[in-house]
Symmetry: D2
Subunit: 295 residues, 4 copies
Amino acid sequence: MQLGPTLIDDTFAEAFGMRYCRLIVTAADGYWLDAAVREFSGYSASVIACDAEIGIERRLSPAESPDGRVGVSLLVFGFSTDALAKAIPNRTGQCLMTCPSTAVFNGLPHSETKIPLGKHLRYFGDGYQKGKLISTRRYWRIPVMDGEFIVEDVLGVERGVAGGNIILQAREQSVALAAARRAAEAVHAMPGVIAPFPGGVARSGSKVGSRYKGLKASTADAYCPTLRGRVLCNLHPETNCAYEIVIDGETESAVGQAMVAAMQAAAGEGIVAITAGNYGGKLGKFHFHLHKLLS
Amino acid sequence: MQLGPTLIDDTFAEAFGMRYCRLIVTAADGYWLDAAVREFSGYSASVIACDAEIGIERRLSPAESPDGRVGVSLLVFGFSTDALAKAIPNRTGQCLMTCPSTAVFNGLPHSETKIPLGKHLRYFGDGYQKGKLISTRRYWRIPVMDGEFIVEDVLGVERGVAGGNIILQAREQSVALAAARRAAEAVHAMPGVIAPFPGGVARSGSKVGSRYKGLKASTADAYCPTLRGRVLCNLHPETNCAYEIVIDGETESAVGQAMVAAMQAAAGEGIVAITAGNYGGKLGKFHFHLHKLLS
Amino acid sequence: MQLGPTLIDDTFAEAFGMRYCRLIVTAADGYWLDAAVREFSGYSASVIACDAEIGIERRLSPAESPDGRVGVSLLVFGFSTDALAKAIPNRTGQCLMTCPSTAVFNGLPHSETKIPLGKHLRYFGDGYQKGKLISTRRYWRIPVMDGEFIVEDVLGVERGVAGGNIILQAREQSVALAAARRAAEAVHAMPGVIAPFPGGVARSGSKVGSRYKGLKASTADAYCPTLRGRVLCNLHPETNCAYEIVIDGETESAVGQAMVAAMQAAAGEGIVAITAGNYGGKLGKFHFHLHKLLS
Amino acid sequence: MQLGPTLIDDTFAEAFGMRYCRLIVTAADGYWLDAAVREFSGYSASVIACDAEIGIERRLSPAESPDGRVGVSLLVFGFSTDALAKAIPNRTGQCLMTCPSTAVFNGLPHSETKIPLGKHLRYFGDGYQKGKLISTRRYWRIPVMDGEFIVEDVLGVERGVAGGNIILQAREQSVALAAARRAAEAVHAMPGVIAPFPGGVARSGSKVGSRYKGLKASTADAYCPTLRGRVLCNLHPETNCAYEIVIDGETESAVGQAMVAAMQAAAGEGIVAITAGNYGGKLGKFHFHLHKLLS
């Protein structure tokens, strides 16, 4: 199957069920909002070695945000509800409570499963914190140097889909970089998804296992162009550079649509092929067949 | 003492000896360099609860960078050489090796103390990595999907100074935010220092101890304007909003000069006072007296 | 009338009928799109001395844009259809045709009134340009160094509303700057409007006439805080700093809604009053009464 | 001659003597400084159809700037002193005087030739403006809504060099775009130069004359890849996409060094050749031979 000049491999991306939360963060203006987002969403590319996978879902205008200020909707994915219950309060305390002017709200208020956020952070107030119930939602006002940090008591948790992906392949690195950026910008514009790797893109794919004892993962040699000829190679014969766009989302449908947007944006002159990463189909319960997505 | 309309308290900032490394990171262009920096330097405001304090020291033009590409010099502070030896390889593996097109170099090549970087990460190459000695410095070429990730074998470690600070105080939050931003921008322009908090500024100052068992730190109530009257207050009587600019640097002199730049940028209309945080002078070996710095 | 702590003057903004076009500009990625927008929308604050008033209406995802690339919708306001017919081809030739990878489309395809764009620029192709009709719309392919510049033959022109405004007033400049930025960010998030002044804000309001012969306009002395006591002052007695957010939009309703968003974002601590600029109501046919808008 | 995999043509760039001014612009913080720069430096790619060629020379820290705030040094090139004397006050009045919090200073105080700036703009003050002499330099304080706009009386004018250039050529557009961006970023990092086209790069090169009467310039068909075979082609036979980086600078040496930086940054995989634009050497008095620059 072709998408313009680009061959689309007849294969599938294998994705996994994960849990996620949505945080709505607001701030006094765009400078402080960006400062908060940068601090909160760093060091969060992959749950293989980070505590969470985090990205911006979308920006909120003052008219859309809960307190009439500029805001952002962040999605945070973790292996389990427990993992999120540990990671998010830690990061919120270090990265958002510390950031001038921010407030934090629950973006999944209707979820049955909940984890503590303000319920946990409030103790930083050393007894001076105050609860506030508005309709059915509880907030905490924690005294800080610029007044009070407003943070919602709990966050809803839902089941999401993580690890949707495409792998784009090019003859030259600058062509691949340009296509990767286009794909990442296309995913960022889609609702309900994030691309958690740096700039939305991963370059160091990994396989399970290693020849070194004690290491659980190592470079995905079958996708390393410089190893062609020494190992079994899964890349198109003309490929000298490949990048992976990894996509986490609220639903199977959101991930699939984002994969389509990523393929359409990436395909083009110099992109010899687009494939996807899977583990034979036995590990992850979601299979995104590229040809089916595009038809 | 006055700095224009702003009272400068007769007090001092108390800072600590910490260890630091300098990473030189380069990338194909500004988009990917920023992606790398965002990923690497998030979740790094304070070693009280993060694994390191990280910030951009300065940007490097292609002419200044080791491989002729755009680059950045990052400073990473930790409690000890061991703490850095753990945090930096983890973050480099998750945030820089994963990021398209980056390379990582040792920015302190003459230091006697060294920690492993590529020496550790190379195992990700699963036996396909290659070492390369150029003059006296060793680099590793680790096969990844876009070719090879180049990373220096070791990083130098030096003794630095962490926790220099000023606390600016205003009647109104928007005045304080503006002054905080001016101060942060002034510090970012100084050599040899970083301001590791979000946007360069901290709003949730902490004191040692808590009324809740098991918590080691809690809000610095003496600096919370909303608690005035209920607790002993260290703020100027007219202050309704305060922010702290925390500064880590290579030397006592670099930190002191950055504090001066921060005070000069922050002082002005509506900033009633500038003070500094200390612990009575017994914990940290560096004391920065505000009046002495400004005279 | 109060909006929180801020007095809303019982007055109105006086706005004018102007003509506008909508350009859809696309580019290879966000870097080049921003380069195109910066070049095209500079030097365009006010038609009093510029050839047009220009701003970003909104950003377009690849899925929304006409050629599947990242895009932007720009609104361009002018005194007349003739003025737009002169300004827009000049600017497009200098700022967009010169910019790597861009294409330009008509964002008002259903308008009856049309001005030439590609119809005019095509002559740059020196006879090598080619027309292309897709459905009922004609495009030109002009050979340039990176291939072909695609530009639509004509642009639709509609009647819009220009000069909606609010003037916010504060005791201190940093408070006023913060409120102005909040208001500008709120307007940027509203559909169908632009705020054409730098950063969305004007600080040098003008009155008609001058004591110097030959000058048609001079500083609006009644709104200059430093002249209080020397001239009749229209500012609140506590005001030391004022800023105007000027809003142009597609319809009276779009401008009015953006003024509401601007007032709600600007009002707050330290903003003593919000007023609006008018000329007694005799020059402009649109009158936006602040109290009516907010009720 | 080769620069890595890239052929460097044995030719020269032909540049011209032009006049330039340096404006130092400061503002309250980076948001307003960027707003001022965007407004002032748009619509300024080429004096063939704009009133000036404008770009950022470098950013100034508070410690370097004349009033202790963040600043920027802008270079403005024009055909003549008279052209600058017309363009700069117009743009300053529309783009900087209107922008919240800015001030404007003369960055060439030692030049013998001077043009009026504040001397001209002061009349906007309608008689309320005030002059101020500090040492030998005169400033004007013009009352505006946020207080006073500070602007220096005159600007120095010097002889500079405009139109230095390289033309990079690639097989594929995305390779060319990446190289163009690298080159532009390299030029931006060099002192004493600007790259006035959008994002630093021009794609619609022009030749003198046209087959259409009344048009003075038309597309440089010899550099249009899609016209190969129909016209005499100056491009490398494998080139499908070319971009020009145009460089204006203070001195012949500054322009030459920036051309070297641009070539070093642009050359690489997929860039088949780098050439330069000239008019046979008879129009411009400065000739930059690529081979000589690189040796």
